[in-house]
């Protein structure tokens, strides 16, 4: 046990408490004084900036101690029942340190952006209340020192996601998307819940500090229990982090305001599953089956989602499928045992994907205002209505190009290093388990598609002729500084973020990897180091693939031939299949949603409940006793003769019974 360190680490609770306070204040304002926008902005942004400062202080302190075990702070007893002792406790270690910096840092930038983006929205106060509440739950998720406390954050962020996806709730499509996100996530949460039941049954605790050190003694390597635990946990991840088969909610989640998509559905919440696997590395390391499942599902999702992104027209949908795909990379990383690489990609992805989403927000903002000014009812998010926007919004265009190069994996931007780490680790693992060669190949193929669809997005949005409309064109212009400022900051992080973890191959010190070592060492799965020659081949081939994807997009796509959405011809063949997202939503609807509804309404309610239980059993019994009463009443005829006959019969029956 490490003795309690001095301030300010003991004040760790301040980090989540600040956004919680922001929620309380903004929530009250939303109900009482929704027009007090200045107070709302100061509270909402201020809470995040202060939380970032507090988190930074805590991390600096942690860096000086660099403890080998997490620092745990217990606040109060939450569920004390017999041998179950769950405290409301937070813990800080190197992994949660990275997470709180990303959450509060990127979160603060997105809060600032929102001040501009949401400025004219009547639900301004409610928006910031929800956003602050989200950050509180996200911090609880990554700081929680036990599974149940983490679960509070886990479901809490799902709630905020639900509220923010359906933020503009008077459109049914938005409310539907929020509900879908919540219910699909609940399926994943069921997995998390069952995993907790198993963990408590077999280790007698739910505290990270007890479960993980005990794991290798409590579970046999590859045993059924630990495999069940990790697979159930991963079911939770497929919900929260939008992996096959539960990814279907994330594209719909784009119905929410765009900064929400950037913060929750790209940079932070959806990476919670990656964090969970990294956090539970000690468990996953004991189950080769589960690790292979994580890596395999990740690689498959990376490739599958990238194919759908090829044919989407809605700029945010492209980015949504891109996020699903990039999350797949992260799972490929952590499933390979390369936790540092997975967390590294999580961090760089937070930078460049937040930049892409906010950039698309800036575009949509401009498009929306243009259409609003001319009272046109066109789709402000359809790329077929854009084109040539670089002329009107040079900052946005330039910054989004940086992010595009980063996500495509062009050196020396952040995404290049992190993606390369993951693919390299997967390839190295192939030497031990050949399945990983397949995963690596899928990852590489996905990288090709990524470079292609991102270049497509940029070409159709910012280049070629403009298709917005003749009158609307005059209304298009760059976003205000409050929105471009955060873009510039994220752009800088996208350029420089790779420096966090430059591998020795390029003469770097792999700093993030060393920083995370105390956390990841427990789950270390030794993989043979590839020779520098092999590594160089891998790096060069990855960059080549990215270049091919981008050049291919430039050569194949013709932005000048594109028609506005209204006039566009319908898709055919494979294009239609991809545009319709492989018809997966329709499939789920046909084999899950409709049958369950039909069974519940037509069978369980109308037949079992109304006819069988209530009709036959309950009212049937009542009818039977009424019938019996009727028979009895018929005997009361008032004729003495009948009574005498009945009397004699009765006496004989009684006598007969007694005598025998």
């Amino acid at each position: 046990m490490i003795p309690l360190p001095p301030l300010p680490l003991a004040l760790l609770w301040v980090v989540p408490a600040l956004p919680l306070a922001g929620f309380v204040v903004n929530g009250a304002l939303a109900l009482a004084a929704p027009r007090a926008k200045r107070a709302v902005s100061i509270t909402g942004v201020g809470a995040l900036v202060l939380a970032f400062a507090a988190a930074a202080l805590a991390v600096v302190e942690l860096a000086q101690l660099h403890p080998s075990a997490p620092l745990v702070f217990r606040y109060w007893e939450w569920l004390p029942v017999g041998d179950l002792q769950v405290a409301l406790a937070l813990q800080l270690d190197q992994l949660s340190a990275v997470m709180i910096l990303v959450v509060t840092g990127v979160g603060a930038l997105i809060h600032v952006f929102s001040v501009g983006y949401m400025h004219d929205d009547p639900g301004y106060a409610r928006y910031f209340a929800y956003l602050n509440l989200f950050v509180f739950f996200m911090l609880t998720l990554v700081l929680g020192a036990s599974f149940p406390v983490m679960f509070v954050g886990w479901e809490g962020v799902g709630l905020c996601s639900y509220l923010l996806i359906g933020f503009w709730f008077t459109e049914k499509i938005n409310a539907d998307a929020g509900k879908k996100a919540f219910i699909v996530n609940r399926i994943g949460d069921f997995g998390f819940l069952v995993a907790m039941l198993l963990i408590f049954r077999h280790t007698g605790s739910l505290d990270f500090g007890v479960v993980f050190p005990k794991a290798s003694a409590a579970f046999a390597v590859g045993g059924p229990v630990v495999t069940a635990i990790t697979l159930f946990l991963f079911l939770g991840c497929t919900g929260k982090s939008a992996q096959i088969p539960l990814y279907i909610w994330l594209p719909d989640a784009m119905q929410g305001p765009t900064p929400v998509s950037a913060l929750i559905h790209a940079a932070t919440m959806v990476t919670a599953g990656v964090y969970l696997v990294a956090r539970c590395g000690a468990l996953f390391a004991l189950s080769p089956v589960a690790s292979a499942t994580v890596a395999g599902v990740g690689a498959l999702t990376a490739l599958f989602a990238a194919t759908i992104a090829l044919k989407q027209w809605d700029i945010k949908r492209v980015l949504a499928y891109s996020t699903v795909s990039q999350l797949g990379y992260m799972f490929l990383g952590v499933g390979t045992g390369a936790y540092a690489a997975g967390i590294f990609h999580l961090t760089t992805h937070a930078f460049f994907k937040a930049l892409l989403f906010l950039g698309s927000g800036s575009v949509i903002h401009a498009m929306h205002r243009a259409y609003h000014a001319t009272h046109a009812h066109e789709d402000a998010q359809d790329m077929r209505n854009m084109g040539g926007l670089a002329r009107y919004m040079p900052w946005t265009a330039a910054l989004m190009w940086i992010a595009t190069l980063a996500i495509a994996g062009i050196p020396p931007l952040a995404g290049f290093f992190s993606k390369d780490e993951i693919l390299g680790a997967a390839f190295a693992r192939g030497a031990v388990r050949p399945a990983w060669y397949v995963f690596w190949g899928m990852g590489l193929a996905a990288a090709l598609l990524t470079a292609f669809y991102m270049t497509r997005l940029m070409l159709y949005t910012f280049h070629g002729p403009n298709r917005t409309g003749d009158r609307e064109r005059e209304q298009l212009h760059e976003a205000p500084p409050v929105m471009t400022g955060p873009l510039v900051a994220l752009g800088a992080l996208t350029v420089l973020g790779g420096a966090l973890n430059i591998p020795p191959l390029f003469g770097g010190g792999a700093r993030l990897e060393h920083w995370l070592a105390p956390v990841t060492d427990a789950a270390f799965t030794p993989a043979p180091d590839a020779s520098p020659a092999t590594e160089w081949v891998l790096v060069v081939s990855a960059v080549l693939v990215a270049a091919v994807g981008m050049v291919g997009a430039f050569r194949l796509l013709k932005p000048e031939a594109l028609a506005p959405a209204r006039l566009a011809p319908p898709e055919r063949g494979l294009g239609r299949l991809l545009w319709k997202k492989w018809y997966v939503d329709e499939l789920y609807d046909a084999i899950v949603v409709r049958p369950v509804l039909w069974l519940s309404r037509e069978v369980l309610w109308k037949i079992v409940d109304m006819r069988l239980v209530d009709g036959l059993l309950v009212n049937g019994t009542a009818a039977a006793s009424r019938a019996l009463g009727w028979v009895g009443s018929r005997l009361q005829t008032g004729e003495v003769g009948v009574y005498v006959v009945l009397f004699v019969v009765g006496v004989l029956a009684v006598l007969g019974a007694v005598v025998r």
């Binding site: 569920l79 809490g156 709630l159 408590f200 369950v596 509804l597 369980l604």
Partner: protein, 502 residues
């Protein structure tokens, strides 16, 4: 002084107050009833602090009533009944306040019945004499019959009679079982007594009779819970009852069934209750309740019916927790009982408030009203989240403890029950969406008024409990633990001995 008289005061005061309500002018009735029920709550509050968790049965008063038949007036509470008493005294003033606008006819009668009902409910939870318990069980039945039958909706008579006959059928069986039990124990020990303490201490092996006696108790309590397939009186009763009736029905009356299992059916017939076949049957019925109740709730067009079926699901968790008989599961079950009273009570209040505004209980009569009534929408959202067991609300801690405790005893059943969390989201979120979200497309909904101060006063205590129990349930859990521990040990021990001696 307080410790001996408090329970009797809680029993007697509402009856006295009911007489007062009948005497005052009609327009004062509700205010008098509110004051009386607040006083009742005030009397009960010190129980929270003076209760000694480790001291077993306390606040006991034991007086002869009908000595010739071995019937005594014995009342007391332990860590199990304490919270049922507090839940009752907490919900009654809110129900009275929540009825101010709803009840417009024969107010004196209504509020007097509410108070008599309070006495009956408290009596059920504090009785430690089986005859007294039976009397209280019937006392509580009659006011509720009238509350549904007189102040209810269109099909109120059908619902009231169904409720009455169903419950009465069960309770008569229970009366027979009580008499037989007393006779059996009396024959063997030579002392005829209805005393709970005496009966549990001198049970001995009841032989095959135990099975039939347990069956009678089981029916009485299973109807009340209600367990599938004895549940169909509940949707009718809930839909037709006035708001306060629904709140009390869901909040307190259903708990009498599960309380009966904990207090009587398990300790009196442990060997039967823990017989593998019985266990399997009860666990199966609990799971059917959780999944079936949830799925049927999902397709209800009537908001109150939806809540009624959701009660079947929640009470399924309670039954599973009781029968798993581990410390976590039993305490979890007790917490779910409390939480269901709070959350479902709040849901019925909100359904009533919606009804008062639109005179419709149909979910599709609403839509998009979060724009018009933001406070009501916020309250409905928080309460719904609590009902679907979102962590950091009360709903989570109870169900989580049940699952955690049930898993070692019934692993597969616990996993099926855990799937209930998905079903819960499937029935409440779509309903929430159709009420407060979606387009505001009905003209009548455009001018709805938001919560009045009186309605806020009704909801705020419930919302506070939702957050409090979700974040810091430890004070409640600590007060329950010794009683739950004692129950589990004695039932397991008795079951082992009786099974061995048979």
């Amino acid at each position: 002084m307080y410790s001996q008289t408090v329970l009797t005061a809680l029993l007697a005061w509402p009856v006295v107050a009911a007489a007062a309500v009948l005497l005052v002018p009609e327009r004062w009735a509700k205010h008098v009833a509110l004051a009386a029920s607040l006083a009742e709550f005030a009397i009960s509050v010190p129980l929270w602090w003076t209760f000694q968790p480790a001291a077993g049965m306390q606040f006991v008063l034991d007086l002869p009533w009908i000595p010739a038949w071995g019937i005594r007036y014995t009342v007391g509470v332990d860590g199990i009944s304490l919270f049922m008493v507090l839940l009752t005294t907490f919900l009654v003033p809110l129900s009275v306040l929540g009825s101010y606008a709803y009840i417009t006819t024969r107010e004196r009668g209504f509020y007097a019945l509410m108070l008599v009902l309070t006495s009956g409910m408290i009596g059920v939870f504090v009785s430690l004499d089986l005859f007294l318990f039976y009397v209280m069980w019937e006392v509580m039945l009659i006011p509720m019959y009238f509350i549904i039958g007189v102040w209810g909706g269109e099909r109120r008579l059908y619902a009231a009679i169904k409720f009455f006959i169903y419950t009465f059928f069960g309770s008569l069986l229970m009366l027979v079982a009580i008499l037989v039990l007393v006779a059996l124990v009396g024959q063997r020990t030579g002392y005829y007594s209805f005393s709970y303490a005496y009966l549990t201490a001198h049970l001995g092996g009841l032989g095959p009779a135990a099975f039939w006696l347990f069956g009678a108790f089981f029916l009485a309590f299973a109807i009340k819970v209600p367990m599938f397939p004895f549940h169909t009186w509940l949707p009718d009763a809930h839909v037709e009852a006035p708001t306060a009736g629904s709140v009390i029905l869901a909040g307190v009356l259903l708990k009498m069934g599960t309380y009966g299992f904990l207090r009587f059916a398990l300790p009196l017939f442990p060997a039967v209750a823990l017989h593998p076949a019985i266990q399997a049957a009860i666990v199966a019925l609990s799971l059917i309740g959780i999944v079936y109740g949830g799925l049927v709730a999902m397709v209800q067009p009537d908001f109150k019916k939806l809540i009624a079926y959701s009660s079947v699901a929640h009470l399924g968790f309670v039954m599973l927790g009781i029968w798993a008989l581990t410390l976590q599961s039993v305490q979890g079950a007790l917490l779910v009982m409390i939480n269901h009273g709070i959350s479902t009570g709040a849901l019925f209040f909100l359904a009533g408030m919606l009804y008062e505004r639109r005179h419709s209980r149909l979910i599709d009569a609403f839509g998009g009203i979060a724009k018009v009534v933001p406070l009501l929408a916020a309250a409905l959202t928080i309460v719904s989240l609590s009902a679907i067991g979102l962590p950091a609300t009360n709903g989570f801690v109870g169900e989580f403890l049940v699952l955690l405790g049930a898993f070692p005893t019934y692993p597969r059943a616990a996993i099926v029950a855990a799937a209930g969390v998905i079903v819960a989201a499937m029935y409440l979120l779509p309903a929430l969406q159709r009420v407060i979200y979606n387009p505001l497309d009905k003209h009548e909904n455009e001018k709805l008024s938001d919560l009045s101060p009186r309605e806020i006063a009704v909801l705020v205590p419930l919302l506070a409990c939702i957050v409090w129990i979700g974040v810091y349930p430890a004070p409640i859990l600590r007060r329950m633990e010794p009683a739950a521990q004692h129950l589990i040990q004695s039932v397991r021990l008795d079951a082992a001995t009786f099974t061995a001696t048979r």
